[in-house]
Amino acid sequence: MTSERRTALYDEHLALHARMVPFGGFSMPVQYAGILKEHAAVRQRAGLFDLSHMGQFILEGDDVAAWADGLAINEVATMKPFQARYNIFCNPEGGAHDDVIFYRLPDRWLLVVNASNADKMWAHLNAQKRGDVRLRSLHGDAALIAIQGPLALSMLQKNVDIDLSAIKYYFCAEARVDGVPVTLARTGYTGEDGFEIFLPGDRAPAIWRALLAAHAGEGLEACGLGARDVLRLEAGMPLYGHEMTEEITPVQAGLTWALKLAKPAFVGKEALARQLEEDTFARIVGLKMGGRVGAREGYPVFAGETRVGEIRSGSIAPAVGNANIATALVDRSAATIGTNLQVEVRGERHDAAVVAMPFYKRPKV
């Protein structure tokens, strides 16, 4: 028997004949009409995602910003009202507990963590709690619906009471969607423009149905975790457990832009500063396979006869001319863009080139 939890939208997924899989402790839709069809919807029009499995924690109190700045590698206290910011919580060795987004709301902070790390992060935050910091978990109760794609703004605009174009990328607002009070953020994980809608679980099914019904004619499609993984990989976005783990640090993952060494102290600072200084670490690179064979997680990577690393994520990439793309953790010597490497697939070596990430960038409007 399965013991997965259900999001507020579980019955909606069944009604849409989604294929459900266990993910992060929840039963989640991996696909509805098909991963490639859903991928195309997001790149060309818009897709609707249930992300209610992700952990939503509310942080309140006068000391939240200073406290969080001592735990996470990016800056929290400098965030403006309604700003959203990517951040990473590390262990003392510099490995990542989780990558997260902070949202600064007028009277509180919203912290969104990975579903697979939600229990670990809840325990970590509570264990580290001090001063005037109050924590509330909405995990599993609150819902999160994302609408992503070039038409996301124009579609969603018809359902909300504010001017969406006034919300800048990585900012949020409080608004009403079809009358329901929500937090709306211009964030996402697909490489397209779009919004994430944080709302009470009990209001989510009606909003989900209303958005699909209102915009199906313009090509809005329900999209599952399968399409989301292809979209995020094309966009060069890391996925916890793949490009970053308790062992693979943000520096190795190429996320040094989020590392604020000017902050006085935070967990992992010394280890990460040393790693950056020494510059000998294995690192995540983008690979583009030469042929039709796909590189998958765990496949070994070679430079000549020397094993230099392994694949961490891999997929066919419809937005990159149907090439097979991958991320790999490789030795420093093999990480230069343009380097020719080989990926071992079922006992045979296949050519792959180190390429710049992201693999896909959305066209400028």
């Binding site: 294929r19 991963i35 490639l36 399968g226 292809v230 039709r292 064979v293 796909g294 997929s315 066919i316």
Partner: protein, 126 residues
């Protein structure tokens, strides 16, 4: 789910259509649905001799890699070369344009180890 009554099936979700001493082989509608969008297929070489239930190829979909087993043994006499350019044919028409290999049967009695449509219907679910 489509399970044609005139075919034989393996527990690994392949189908076989036997005409004389030649069997045409592919994967079932259930198999293609489980794999999702198929992106690449590796097939054996014409002339290869294969044992019943041997691993003869690989099917890659967007989210997974799966081995292809042959439900019958013999010599590969033809492979569907059109699949390379159009792997989606496996999703769209698994019993027609999505056929994979033709085998000259080594031992026609091997078909007794396969399932008929009614028996296969019993195992073609998650």
């Amino acid at each position: 789910m489509n399970i044609p009554s005139d075919l034989l099936y393996s527990k690994e979700h392949e189908w076989a259509k036997i005409e004389g001493d030649i069997a045409t082989i592919g994967i079932t509608d259930f198999a293609q649905g489980s794999l999702g969008d198929i992106t690449f297929v590796e097939l054996p070489k014409v002339g290869a001799k294969v044992e019943q239930f041997a691993n003869v190829g690989v099917i890659e979909s967007v989210k997974t890699v799966s081995d292809l087993y042959t439900p019958l043994g013999g010599e590969i006499v033809e492979v569907n070369s059109a699949i390379d350019a159009d792997p989606a044919a496996l999703n769209n028409d698994p019993y027609g344009a999505g056929w994979l290999i033709k085998i000259k049967l080594a031992e026609p009695a091997q078909a007794k180890a396969l399932l008929d449509a009614a028996a296969y219907t019993g195992i073609a679910h998650d």
